[in-house]
């Protein structure tokens, strides 16, 4: 670090106030940007007119009433959660294994492995979708179903988990592993007691990213879907008729439910002395 050479005399430490408040303001602005469309979604879920025109002309709870009775939406929501859990579950296991192997071992063809794993998220979703569609339908002769969607989702979810875990692993000093090994721990024990606790946040982050991407995915899903539809596909279908505020109502409910889930998950984890991140 050559800072010391340039500035030989330590100056008094800056007051942190102004800098921090600038940063805080920027952070707040980013949150506003992230949430502005969500506020719009929530507002329009109460709109009395069927079309998202501005300004809102009247307010109603009708869309929530309709939502309660809409079996298709609940069915597709259940299906989306199911697909997301399966896909992120498989992806976390496969992705964490890959990231660990990539980080901890040297072997020939490593770059190739990295690229192979990185490809699904890098290539357009439509490529994955159509490639898998040809493969399943003509090569394997499978019927399209939840199974084909999950497999399609796992392929790109793996990349997210690998990225997340690898970024963390790359910053862990290897000396920790070496120390553990020198103290006689087996690789498994080292992994379980040393490495895993340190990478757990990134595994969580990867799992959450994988679930959210799967939950939200439409391009790959469109090609691989069988007789059951995921929520985004159902919404896409309805957008074609013009959006109904009912869709905004669904989104609002999902936002609320996930808020509650995360708060609860965080509480539970805290009680056991852990943290979600």
């Amino acid at each position: 670090m050559n800072l010391a050479n340039e500035l030989p005399l330590p100056r008094p430490r800056r007051r942190r106030g102004p800098r921090n408040s600038g940063l805080t303001a920027a952070a707040v602005a980013v949150y506003l940007f992230l949430y502005l469309p969500l506020v719009v979604v929530v507002l329009y879920s109460f709109s009395a007119t069927k079309v998202n025109a501005w300004p809102i002309e009247g307010y109603t709870l009708d869309w929530y009433r309709e939502l309660l009775q809409d079996g298709d939406i609940w069915e597709s929501l259940r299906f989306s959660v199911f697909v997301g859990l399966c896909a992120s579950g498989v992806a976390v296991v496969l992705g964490a294994m890959t990231a660990y192997a990539l980080d901890r071992f040297r072997f020939r063809g490593k770059t190739v492995v990295r690229f192979a794993v990185g490809l699904p998220i890098v290539l357009p979703g439509i490529v994955t979708g159509v490639a898998l569609l040809t493969f399943f339908s003509s090569t394997l002769g499978w019927q399209l179903s939840a199974r084909t969607i999950v497999i399609g989702h796992v392929t790109f979810c793996i990349t997210l988990v690998v990225n997340s875990v690898a970024a963390r692993l790359s910053q862990l000093p290897r000396s920790l592993d070496e120390a553990s090994a020198d103290l006689g721990a087996t690789p498994w024990r080292t992994f379980r007691r040393v490495t895993f606790p340190l990478v757990r946040p990134s595994i969580f982050a990867g799992a959450i990213l994988a679930f959210t991407l799967s939950f939200d995915e439409i391009i790959v899903t469109f090609f691989l879907t069988g007789r059951e539809k995921t929520l985004p596909l159902l919404i896409w279908g309805r957008l074609r008729r013009g959006i109904s505020p009912e869709i905004n109502a669904v989104a609002t409910v999902i936002i609320l439910v996930s808020l509650v889930l995360v708060v609860v998950a965080n509480r539970v984890l805290r009680r056991s002395g852990q943290s979600l991140f």
Partner: protein, 299 residues
Amino acid sequence: MATATAAQPASRGTRPNAAGAGPFALLAAPLGWMLVFYLMPLGILLAHAFWSVDYLTIDRTFTLKNLQTVATNSLYPTVILRTFLMASAVTLTSIAIAFPLAYFLAKKVTARRELLLMMVVFPLWSSYLVRAFAWKTILGANGILNSFLLWTGLIDQPITAFLYSKTGMYITFCHVWLPFMILPLYTVLDRLPNSLLEASADLGSSGWQTFRRVIWPLSIPGVMAGSLSVFSLTMGDYITPSLIGGSPGTELIGGIVADQFGIANNWPLGAALILPVLAIVIVFLLVANRFGALGRSEP
């Protein structure tokens, strides 16, 4: 260091970094998966680029006709360039927006950090389609943004260029992919030792100097990881062009590819169009890999 030979049986007590069967035992399942469910299907699809289609039948005679079409018809290079520029702009903007927030979360917040971090992921939980549609309401000729600008007196005519335009797509992309940039940035910044920052401050460097000399170089892996996601998600998208763009099928290359498969039923041409996109993203992957976005770089 020795490279592994797959034929050796695994021995217990292998030390870390001794590359025996370890990586292959670990990689067997993920690589098997990728091979069967990605690379093989992809290979079959890309082979189509060198085939041709006659109405409903695919003719498997080798031909370069599709590649010629892609190179010579000005439509395709134009749209590919446009998509590249859009993806680059969105990526750079996302870095600029995400960095302050990620830094704020990693270094300035102690209380309720989990909650704030989860708030970054939340927007992803509401359907991407719904959010894109919300932007339509915001950006429309009579939308929230125009209403607001009219109200402030900054404009006296609604700006129609916000919606059904490249501007609209740019804004929407920056929004929908932002969490994919924030999270990897947060991950690297969180690992950045506070002591380094304090040392830098103690040595009298300004905030900007600390950023440029300490924080930024150390967060490159996260920046590259996030950029890779944002860039490639934009390169392949055709939903936002369809909702926010003026010409859904031809704004970006994703739409053109999609139409070859979903409308024209010309898979060979679609596969040929994927090749330049493939080249662009592989270059990006190589760059990102050099900067350690995909894991520790080779010594």
